[in-house]
Amino acid sequence: MKSQERIPKSRIERAAHIAGAGVKVGGNYIKHYAKKMVNSDVQREELHRDNAGDIYETLSKLKGSALKVAQMMSMDRGILPQEYQEKFQLSQYSAPPLSAPLVAQIFRKSLGNSPGAFFDEFTQNAVAAASIGQVHKATKNSKELAIKIQYPGIANSIGSDLRMVKPFAVRLLSMNKNDIDNYFDEIEGKLMEETNYQLELQRSIELSQACAHISNLQFPEYYPEWSSDKIITMDWLNGLHLKEFLATKPTQEVRNSIGQALWDFYDFQIHELKMVHADPHPGNFLFTPDGKVNIFDFGCVKVIPDRFYTPYFRLVDRSIYNNTEETHSIFRELELLHEDDSAGEIAFFAPLFKQMIDMLTLPFTCETFDFGDERYFGGIYQFADNLIEMPEIRNSKKARGSRHSLYINRTYYGLYHMLFDLKAEVVTGKRKF
């Protein structure tokens, strides 16, 4: 495990990093205008790439919330080019480790005794990183356990991190402040929830029980007696992360079995439970050679309100587009369109959204869908890239899309991405909308 040298923990240190990006971004604009004076053909795209690089570089030095925000922004708005998005995903694997005495201290503070008092064996060093903590391995009565320990002070730093990232978001997304606030509110709420290990434990137990009937899924057992607001103890799960798993060249059959399990897992949560494991990045899953998925991280769960769910999934029904009036009214419910939009804006955005939704919901409309279809994903990425280049989109001051869509889109984005990597063929059409 490659780890960063240290987390910039204090607010001032973080501010210094962020300010670093601010200076550089400013510098890029100067470069941009300087070039423009000499050569008017200078691509705004080039500026965009320079900025993305500097922002990536700066934010990747931060752990925790700033990183998450960067990820969310980059995914949802296509702000960062694909290459950086992938780098962000990788960076979740690395973490600056806590020293063994500090781990013992966290145990004493939250469970009243050091790890040695609870377990027969306990690894002194972390064996893996979690998004806001690290994982140790322990044994008790020859049972292997995974123990997730949260970095101290994470909850305190979220608010100040977000406040520092906000000015960038305003500038990068060129949105008005109210809309940004609305999104940030959603993200901050979710991040705060993620630091609440008591809530995570409760949801882990609930959701894993509710999904236990889905074939080829495996969940660990959780141990509340060895868990606290900073610690979660569960069974140790074996398996490989997606990249390593794919390197073993699993058969199409195994990949299909895994893809189906993932699809069913999300389908059931979204449509039956109306709450969903909203963090489908590859680090949260382990795959086994016999085609099973181990799921163990319920830190980020999005509860889907009916007022969002109903219009969102009505759009899957293609026949709705015959009725422009109704389509637009659904777009308005989802805040894709606004009451004060001009006729021109509606004429520009409505067909774009229709096209986007067409593409993204395509798997829902088929009986089986081949997620290995490169043309399909190529089309999505192409569409997203085109979107970035449209001045109407870049200069639009209004946010388009409800705050709930942030995490739902992210969930589908993550799920599709994994299924694409798996090249899985999945039965998707069981559900009728």
Binding site: S99, A100, P101, L102, R108, Q124, P152
Partner: protein, 222 residues
Amino acid sequence: MVDIGHLRMEKVTILEKYIQFQLEHGKQPESVYLFMKQLKKKDADFFAVFSSFEAVDAFFWEHLFHNTQAKLEADKQYQQFGSSEKLSAFYFLWTQELLAHRSYLLMLAKHSGKGIMPTEKYLQHFRHLFLDYAAGIVASGIEEKQIADRKFISDQFRHGLWAQTVFLLNFWIKDTSNDFEDTDAAIEKTVRLIYKLMGENIFDEMLDLGKFIFQRSKKSFS
């Protein structure tokens, strides 16, 4: 034969009453006589274990140090730790000990106005105990090659650790974070820094260069 355990218990009992008195009255008792009278005891009981209130003040810190050491010795993991981890473990447990007396410590810091200064008279006994302990930590650090063995300077390292201790004490006093998480972070960071400073680093290169130039320059004049 003097029963040390019993003697310590006597001392602790008086210490607790003494702290309680100060917290309730905001100042030291007028005299040992009045203090003991209020406890419905004879002042001879006090003088059997302490010579003065100042001795009690000093014993408070010894008591915290003693408790920390006892917990460290009972910890199997601690025995396996390297030098820097031992020091961290000491600070973590020590700050836990401080917690039981936070109100009293806040009062001490408030009285002095600027926090608890390393020169406070009541800290000096603790200082000696800590320096002995720190000498052991430094020695094992040198043995494990975590700490560079520098002539004359290595002997001073423990004084650096003492400065760190007083810094952490005052940091903790001012800490308002949840569960004193910031103090935990401060311990991690200061220990990491101080081991970087004590380990092989740029100073060794500077020293080496300095020695070299000094020797050459002597040569040229001889």
